[in-house]
Structures are given as structure tokens and as C-alpha cells.
Symmetry: none
Subunit: 400 residues, 2 copies
């Protein structure tokens, strides 16, 4: 169902929904044991929720498609990731918690080295330190070109973000980064006629950046790529009638939550801190997105045992959540990050929804193998939000 | 996901994918045993693949829809059969391995008998022999009308194919065949204004054919139907980055494979020959479509036991495939052809995918009943290709 259609059915109630998103939770069996991280982990509390709840396997984007973090989360928030895209430049800016405003256009940047013939000799300027990067950013930050002001903010090592603030600034711009050494940086081109002025401004910025960097030792040029607009998505309050809040330790996830209109709560530094934040602010909101990052990081590192331990840590925190007695609890992931693959993967993700009205199935535990046989089967992650709203009695009848 | 979107994610790798398509594999239980052909068949090798792989039930077109061979195969190749159509005239031409070129328009033809008032008295001209048909085709083959050259090629008995080769020849043409005796052949009409010239040419052809056949004993007229363009589909190399080859004993399947850009390999005359061809050419391609026809033929004949035997013959050949150790093996069908129905049917088809990364489910054997409980559930056959590409690590992440 489209967001517009769901919006027509929403009825506000005081009931509460909590989404616990265990990033990259899904796994692939380890050769030795034939079991996934979640299957090995000792998770009595999650298993109890699975037994009393309704389970299935959620498909973040589509069969075989490996989701990035943005599509994975947008799907869970109820926004079809094939329709609602967040561009690379914006995600990079979110990752450093840059305070993006509607209309902003962000690009990913590299400091690099060009020779006297303008040919790139090092795309990453020898991976300068983050401190050096910050120093170079200060040289470029705050320019105004044709009434467009430009922020240049360090990310890490040679990487920075350039944000263009100006009315009608377009993101329909090609990259200046040729993605190879031995070539000159490319002139940024307008990808449609309306973007001509924006392309001119970006090219002026690059020229002025080059002048400002001339003679600097570690890097003497910038490369820009992934121009993207700060998206203007409908807010969760508008489409789902919710008052939503996010508890996420990593900036990018807070940025994604902000895009759909969540308030951002302090996350603290541990998983327990996140659940404490939930308890503290429980009275103020009716929807919580609680994000666990470290399962994904362990998966990316190929640390099977580490991922198992973090899952167990989440499990130990679950009673803090259940003691609040929310009407609906969802536990799932934005995508799989199997330790054996050391990265995001296409595998569908285990899903559980607990509510007193869920009509539970006979899934005995929270695991990939068990959830396959859940009542929800394999289903699109975009359907999670309507199901949660329904279980919170926040949706009225469709049609007469 | 659309082909255009998948195309953006493709990364070429040397990994190999083999699709074994057992035509019409799906069955319906026999009254006496309560088991389908696949459930009765002794298939230890396919069962092992199912146990180590991931299973489900593939839906070629949609619930309740009985697919023809073209939609069934196009879906498996990743092409939505509701968007990518191959017309009847073209399929008939493929069936006799006519060397179709882009722009060609083909129609199915019957030799028939009309009386002195031009009324059809026998739509099939008494089912003349294929030899007689060939003789009559020679009378009509090779005409050129308004720069459009026309091939007339025998199929079987009274059936032939007419192929019109000319720039901008349209297939938006009505049939001349009224599909009933006691009526006159219809004038071919243009179904849109651009087709007017093509309609005129076809009607001239029919008039000239009538003159050429005048006084001939077995048939004195032609009927044309199912005008269709040779489709200009995106090739598998373009959209999936594959170097694909087809091993199929029947011309129509080779024709379908050619439409999506597969190279055609010699199939030999037995199932074992097909697997030998696979082994011989294994180094040259990274995608193989190996087609088994005789299961479908046995199903069409209502030969339950014959179909069981052919399934067992395929099973015995499977070690030839697994010994090649391809990264991904898919075994499924284009549609069901239950012997008890003596024809194609709407029943979803058993599906297995084997790869080291597939995250296997607990399906104990390859059968309709067992695959229902597979991790993939019942899913659209168009998603087979993205899933296979993912398991071969040929797709990068979607979104950041």
C-alpha cells in the first residue's frame, strides 16, 4: 500500500511501538557449526518474544539485492527504498552529523594531488591525517559564490563533505572525480538544463579551492562526487500519525531518522545506555527506533564470535524493554551482515513482532531457520510499519 | 526490481551459474499414490542439492496463470513476461529454427481449401503431409512486394511460417484466418495507421499466393495469423554482465535463448549429451541454460511413469554438473505439466538454488511438498536471476 493510502487509515492512539533494529543481524552458517551468529547466540529473552509473537523473514529491498544502510532502514520505516532515495553526498554529511537543511546539496570530497599538468597523481593525497584534512577544510570553508554559501567539513583522512546552501541549487551534477589517477579532474557538468547555474558555481568553487590550496604540501586539489539533495520525505508524523524518536549511537542512522521526522535522543555509549534512554523518554513519544550498530561492525570485521556476543548483549537488555510493556515490539534488522561474508549481504532478515493481538505462530526461537516457518513467511520490509501500526490499533478499516 | 536497476548493480566476476530447467517439471499427485512425478522419482542427487541449497516454489507468471513456454522461460531468464512478449508468429519461426533478424515480422500460416465462392471448406487442407506443405511453400517462397521480401517455410502438415523482411514492416496486423470454416478469409487490417502499408503488402501477398496455388489439388489458399515482430530485448550480457550459453535440444528454446543474447551450443540427442556439452564448454561461458524437454513432452502425453523416468535420468546426470563445481546451481522448471492434466498448468514449480553462500534451509528433498517449506517461500520466477547473481557475488550493494 502506498504511504498516501496508509495515511488515510491512521488513527492516533496513546499505544506505543518500539523497533529494535539490530544492524546486520542476519547471518550465514559457520562452516564448523552449521549455525548462524543468531542461532549460536544464547538469547532467552528474544526467543520468548518470538514464541509469543509472530515471526517471518523480512526482505529489505528484493530477493538477491544487498541493501545499503539507507535503503535497509527506509524500508523498515515504511518508505519504499526504490522510491525514496538518499544520495551518497547526503549520507556522508549525515555521517558527520552535519546539520542539513531542506534544499542543501552535499557532495563527497577527496583532497588529492595533481601535478603541474593538472594530472591526478594521488587521489587520496597519501591518506593525510584527519587533522590535516580539518586544516585544509578551514581554508575552503565558508566561501560564497553567486549567493550560494559553501560549507567544507572534514570526515576522515583525505575525505570531506562539501555542502552547497542556496535557493534552487541543483544536484543534477556529474562528478569531478574521474575515480582514477593519471587523468585530470573533470569539469562538473549539468545533467539537465536547470542545473547549468549550479554546475558553474561548483566549477568556480573547485577553481577557487585549487587557488587556495596552491603550494600546500599534502594536497593541492579537491575531487567531488555523489552530489545529492537533502531529501524532502513526508514525515512519520504526517503519514503514520506518530510522535517518533530515534536512539542511535552512530550519526548516519540519526540522520536517516531525522529525514523521516524523528526526534533524536541521546544514545549514550553502550547498548544498555540506549535502553536506559528508551525508559527515560518512554512517556514522551509513541514510536521508538532503537538502533544497535555493533552487530554490523562485527559482521563487517568477519568477527563471528564478536557478533554473537553483541547479540547476547542485546538479549540481556530486552527485559528493560519488556518491563515498559509497549503495545508493539519489533525486533529485526536492516539487512544481513554475515561474518563469513565480511559485509552486507542479500539474505533476508529474521523478524519478530510481539503484541498481545499478534496471533502468534509456533516459531520456537528467534533465528533465521525458525523464522522461515513463521506466519509472515518471507515478506517485504516495507510492510513492517503497517503491521506494527495495526497491532497498536492505530489503523482503521480500509473500505466500507 | 527493474532490469535497468539491476544493471546498475552488476559486477563481472569469473564465477559460474548453471540453470537446469526441467521443462514442465511440476506435477499434480497421482490418484493411486497421492504423489507427484517428482515425489515418486528416485532423485538422490537432486535431493542432496535441495538439502544443501535453498528452496522454494517459483511462480512463473502469477497465481492461477498457466504459462506458455515463452513466458515461463523469459521469467526464469529475469525478464518479466508481462512486459517482454514473444508473439506467436515469432515462436513458430523459432520452432523451425528460422534465422530471424531484428525487424522481421513472422506469421503462422495454414494451407487451406476455399470453394469457388472463396468460402473456406477445410482450414487445414485435410492435414496435407509435411512433404506436400514443403512443395507448396516452394511455390510461394521468395516473393518481393514493395521492397519487402517474404520467406515461406514449412512447419508440419498444413502449417507454415511466413516471414516478412523489410524496413519498418509493422506487426500491428489483424489475422486473415477467421478460425472457422464456412467463412471467407478476412482481409488483413492495419491495427494502427502506421501499419497501413504493411497490411497492403500482406494482402497483396495473399492474393499472389492464391494465384500461385490456383488449380493445385491439396490446397488452394493460405490463412495467416499471429503477426509478430522479432523482439529487440536487452541482452543478458548488457543487463546481467553475463556471457551466457544455451544447451537445448528443441529449436524453440534455442530461439528464446537467442532472443536474450545467449550463444547456442550443440545439444546432442540425449540428456547425458547435454551435460557433456556443458562440461566441454564450461570454461568459455559464465552462465549456462541447460534445457530438458522430455519431461514436458511426457506430461503432455499424460505419461506419468515416463515423466518419472526422465526425471530420474536427469538426476543421474547431476554429478556431471556438480563435479564442475559451479558457484551457483539452479534447478527448476518453466511451468508445471502434470501428467494427470496432459498439458501445461498454473501450479507453481519446485525450485532449488545451491551455492556455498545460499544459507540453506531445512528442506529434506527436492519435491513440490518439501519446497513449499523452503526459505524462499512462493516467489516470482523473475527474482531467480537476481538471486543467482547475488549468490555468484555478481551484484554490488544497492544504495549507500
Amino acid at each position: 500500500m502506498e504511504l498516501d493510502q496508509i495515511k488515510q487509515l491512521v488513527i492516533p492512539t496513546p499505544s506505543k511501538i518500539v523497533f529494535v533494529i539490530i544492524d546486520g543481524l542476519g547471518g550465514v552458517p559457520h562452516k564448523k557449526t552449521g549455525k548462524t551468529e543468531l542461532e549460536i547466540a544464547d538469547t532467552p529473552n528474544l526467543d520468548k518474544l518470538a514464541r509469543e509473537g509472530i515471526c517471518g523473514m523480512a526482505e529489505p529491498v528484493a530477493l538477491g539485492i544487498t541493501p545499503g544502510s539507507a535503503p535497509g532502514h527506509l524500508a523498515i520505516f515504511g518508505y519504499d527504498p526504490l522510491k525514496f532515495a538518499v544520495g551518497r553526498g547526503i549520507l556522508e554529511a549525515m555521517g558527520i552529523e552535519f546539520d542539513l537543511k531542506p534544499g542543501d546539496v552535499a557532495a563527497r570530497g577527496n583532497f588529492c594531488i595533481v601535478d603541474d599538468n593538472s594530472v591526478i597523481t594521488d587521489r587520496r593525497a597519501g591518506r593525510i591525517s584527519t587533522e590535516q584534512c580539518a586544516e585544509l577544510c578551514r581554508l575552503l570553508d565558508g566561501m560564497t559564490i553567486e549567493k550560494v554559501s559553501i560549507s567544507v567539513v572534514p570526515v576522515r583522512e583525505h575525505r570531506f563533505v562539501a555542502v552547497f546552501h542556496g535557493a534552487d541549487f541543483s544536484s543534477a551534477l556529474s562528478d569531478s572525480d574521474p575515480q582514477r589517477e593519471g587523468l585530470e579532474p573533470k569539469t562538473v557538468a549539468a545533467l539537465n538544463p536547470e542545473a547549468a547555474k549550479s554546475a558553474r558555481i561548483v566549477n568556480k568553487f573547485i577553481a577557487q579551492a585549487r587557488e587556495a590550496l596552491a603550494g600546500w604540501e599534502p594536497a593541492n586539489m579537491v575531487l567531488l562526487r555523489g552530489f545529492a539533495h537533502y531529501p524532502n520525505f513526508p514525515k512519520m508524523s504526517e503519514v503514520f500519525g506518530l510522535k517518533p524518536a530515534a536512539i542511535a549511537a552512530y550519526p548516519m542512522y540519526r540522520g536517516l531518522a531525522k529525514v523521516v521526522g524523528m526526534d533524536i535522543l541521546p544514545a549514550g555509549s553502550t547498548i544498555e545506555d540506549e535502553f536506559c534512554t528508551l525508559a527515560e523518554h518512554y512517556g514522551t513519544y509513541d514510536f521508538f527506533f532503537l538502533h544497535i550498530k555493533r552487530t554490523d561492525s562485527a559482521g563487517e570485521d568477519g568477527d563471528f564470535t564478536g557478533k554473537v556476543k553483541i547479540i547476547e548483549e542485546v538479549d540481556r537488555a530486552i527485559p528493560k524493554l519488556t518491563s515498559l510493556d509497549p503495545e508493539v515490539i519489533v525486533v529485526t534488522a536492516d539487512h544481513s551482515t554475515p561474518a563469513v561474508l565480511k559485509g552486507h549481504s542479500w539474505h533476508s532478515v529474521p523478524f519478530l513482532l510481539y503484541s498481545k493481538l499478534c496471533r502468534s505462530d509456533d516459531v520456537p526461537e528467534f533465528s533465521e531457520r525458525a523464522c522461515i516457518h513463521g506466519a509472515l513467511g518471507r515478506f517485504p520490509a516495507t510492510e513492517i510499519m503497517p503491521l506494527a501500526l495495526a497491532n497498536a490499533l492505530k489503523l482503521k478499516k480500509f473500505g466500507a
